[in-house]
């Protein structure tokens, strides 16, 4: 099976380890991975900040980059939700019929990583080894946008050596919300404090999630508090094996 990796601009630019782990994991499971280099950003930041015309242009660009892909896999629930929820509507803003059709057709072929593993490949035990105490934060766009449900937990439970501990008030947003974190920095910080407190209460060494954006936020708070707790994307945990553990940072 061949898939095209939609790595997201955030992972590409700031968190390449997540993208690398996604590639290693998929290849280990026998999937052929391509990376269409034309891809940039899905347009979510522009759309959610009120810049819909600009977002539509970026969406058309991304859809064109993946026009030939049989399946598109992304290590981001948030960007997958953007494609699934907003691309059909944004397509109405694009005058070029072919480009609009490509945008409207992308959602059906786009999978968030855990959806692809569990639903398409039908695997839960990906052969990972990660001997740490881990807690899982269900990011809003995975939980309520894509409704990934317990797929991430089913994958984590099969990781050898991993001790999974439940996060309190897990369904509460971490307070990131894109430009919300800057425009409403005080309210965002209040939400982050509660999330970080819940993470620390688990006694976990690592907090994981489906989104590098949420992890950037939670991790930014945990590091500012000098908590010693790390944030690691789920793809990195699933990619880790005896032979290739997650590189420490």
């Amino acid at each position: 099976m061949a898939v095209a990796l939609f790595v997201t601009c955030l992972v590409d630019t700031l968190f390449p380890a997540c993208g690398q782990a996604t590639v290693r994991l998929l290849e280990r499971l026998g999937v052929e991975v391509d990376f269409p280099a034309k891809q940039t950003c899905c347009g979510q930041m522009h759309l959610n900040s009120g810049y819909a015309p600009e977002a539509a242009g970026l969406a058309a660009r991304l859809a064109a980059a993946f026009a030939d892909a049989e399946a598109v896999v992304t290590p981001s629930a948030s960007c997958a939700a953007m494609v699934r929820e907003s691309y059909p509507r944004l397509a109405e803003r694009i005058p070029d019929r072919g480009a609009a059709a490509a945008m409207a057709a992308l959602p059906a072929r786009t999978y968030e990583l855990t959806e692809f593993l569990v639903d398409v490949l039908g695997v839960e035990d990906v052969g990972a080894y990660y001997p740490h105490r881990v807690t899982y934060h269900p990011s809003c766009h995975g939980l309520r946008g894509l409704r990934v449900g317990d797929r991430p937990l089913r994958l984590l439970r099969r990781v050898r050596g991993l001790e999974l501990v439940e996060l309190g008030d897990a369904e509460q947003c971490c307070g990131f919300g894109g430009t919300f974190a800057v425009k409403n920095a005080d309210t965002s910080a209040a939400m982050l404090t509660d999330k970080a407190t819940a993470v620390l209460a688990t006694g976990a060494q690592v907090c994981t999630a489906l989104d590098s954006s949420c992890l950037m936020h939670i991790g930014g708070g945990l590091r500012r508090a000098r908590s010693g707790v790390d944030v690691v994307h789920l793809a990195e945990i699933l990619a880790a094996t005896d032979a290739h553990p997650v590189p420490s940072r």
């Binding site: 700031l14 993208g19 950003c41 309520r144 409403n184 309210t187 910080a189």
Partner: protein, 475 residues
């Protein structure tokens, strides 16, 4: 009455109020759990939601016909209908009606609509004292405060604060903070006023166009007292509250109490039709209020906000509301519903910061009993606010420029890769030159979080290196 400060400034202040934070966290957590429990009992909650949403959507599509039908039914059953285009017109109508009775005091049934038009101040200016009879509204009124929640107006106050307030104002000085004693103090103060049987002013939860029946939903029975013992009843109702028939209330009255207070059945649901000789108010006036609602209705996406049945479930699950509190919104309707309704009903000029007061976490849309896609409307209104400023070169220019630069950087592979290299260089420079430059650029972030460190290699650089050829994937 309302506060026009932008949300971030008002929230900064309320976030620092530890009593408010504690009260809100306890109260919203309790209501959330109660709601979840009773919603979970309903076999087909989603089906019920769809029915509720369909009734409201149909009513909005046929609002013009339904309102005229309502006017005819109310008139035919002995009521008098008045049309108010805005708050000033509504105040003028109501104060005129009260003046005609000669009353110097009127009783209020809990009503957001009368808060929206600032009716109490209008009555006071005409020499009429309006007394709030809903327990929590009375608390807010006695404290000279503003309601901070749609269903639980005094949610920001705890028992001890209410004890102090009552002891100072209406109750015996030796009052304790036991709920029974507090309720008894309020009862002693209110009951003789109910029995005087003068003028009552209420809002309305629903109105059935076919029969002219008006419905008010409340928990204490104080509303029922006012509605039945008054000689004159004046109801101020937003035009979006009309539905076709009484039977349409079946779904809405099943959805509302479970969503609002976590009750299976609403304790006091009052329904009346016109005037009945010898029974209840002998004079009934219905004031139909527009006050910006027609403008909301004109927006095909934004109009969904008018479906709201004021259950406040979206407030109780909202992480922003839970922390900043209702006061930070500065509007009659706070929380997620206020953030989509008020910028439309009032204006973007005054309420343009509200659609941005959300992390778009989606918790509100999950609980809305009439299926309003609140995050979608928030994004829609953010677009409207950005578009409004696009026409004003001096407003929001920094953000507009940044977004234009980013859109340009994302618009081609080479530009994007150049921007990545530039960003990495900037990150290195900021780190080398210390915190000052970084904080100047990213202050709102770095005040409470560390920034990520730009990696030595982007993902795509790694991919190319791994592929061993520079041009792989180029198209």
């Amino acid at each position: 009455m309302t506060d026009a400060r932008p949300f971030p400034a008002a929230a900064r202040e309320s976030l620092a109020d530890s009593q408010l934070r504690h009260n809100l966290a306890v109260a919203t957590t309790t209501i959330r759990a109660r709601r979840a429990a009773v919603v979970g009992e309903v076999a087909d909650w989603e089906g019920l939601r769809r029915r509720g949403a369909a009734v409201k959507a149909y009513s909005l599509e046929h609002l013009d016909e339904l309102l005229e039908q309502l006017e005819a039914s109310v008139t035919a059953t002995g009521g008098v209908v008045h049309w108010a285009a805005d708050a000033a017109a509504a105040r003028r109508i109501v104060t005129g009606l009260v003046a005609a009775t000669g009353a110097e005091e009127v009783l209020k049934v809990k009503s957001l609509t009368t808060d929206e038009i600032d009716l109490n101040a209008g009555l006071a200016a005409a020499g009429v004292a309006a007394l709030e009879t809903d327990l929590a509204e009375l608390v807010v009124q006695l404290a000279g405060d503003r309601p901070s929640h749609i269903v639980v107006p005094a949610i920001h106050k705890n028992r001890a604060e209410i004890r102090d307030l009552f002891a100072r104002t209406i109750g015996p000085a030796d009052l304790t903070d036991s709920p029974a004693e507090l309720a008894a103090a309020a009862r002693a103060f209110l009951r003789r006023r109910f029995l005087a049987g003068g003028v009552t002013i209420s809002g309305a939860n629903f109105a059935a166009a076919e029969s002219g029946a008006i419905c008010v939903v409340e928990s204490e029975g104080n509303g029922r007292m006012c509605l039945t013992l008054a000689s004159t009843l004046i109801t101020v109702m937003g035009i979006e509250k009309v539905v076709p028939r009484l039977t349409d209330l079946a779904a809405l009255l099943a959805l509302l109490p479970r969503s609002a207070t976590g009750e299976r059945l609403n304790p006091y649901t009052s329904l009346w039709t016109g005037v009945h000789p010898g029974d209840g108010p002998q004079s009934f006036h219905l004031v139909l209020l527009d006050n910006g609602r027609s403008r909301v209705l004109a927006d095909r996406v934004g109009r969904d906000a008018l479906r709201c049945i004021r259950c406040a479930a979206c407030l109780n699950v909202c992480p922003v509301y839970e922390r900043a509190g209702g006061g930070a919104y500065g509007t009659t309707y706070p929380g997620p519903i206020g953030a989509i309704l008020e910028p439309q009903r009032d204006s973007l000029e005054r309420r343009g910061s509200l659609p941005f007061a959300s992390s778009l976490c989606g918790a509100c849309a999950e609980v809305c009993p009439v299926g309003i896609d609140i995050p979608r409307l928030l994004v829609h209104l953010r677009g409207a606010e950005v578009d409004r400023k696009r026409g004003r070169p001096l407003e929001g220019r920094t953000e507009r420029t940044a977004m234009a630069i980013l859109a340009r950087a994302f618009s081609g592979r080479r530009r994007y890769e150049a921007a990545q290299r530039l960003g990495r260089g900037g990150d290195r420079l900021a780190r080398a030159r210390g915190a000052a430059l970084r904080d100047a650029l990213m202050g709102p972030w770095t005040r409470s979080r560390e920034l990520p460190v730009a990696p030595d290699q982007t993902f795509r650089e790694w991919w190319r290196e791994r592929a061993g050829e520079d041009d792989r994937g180029r198209s």
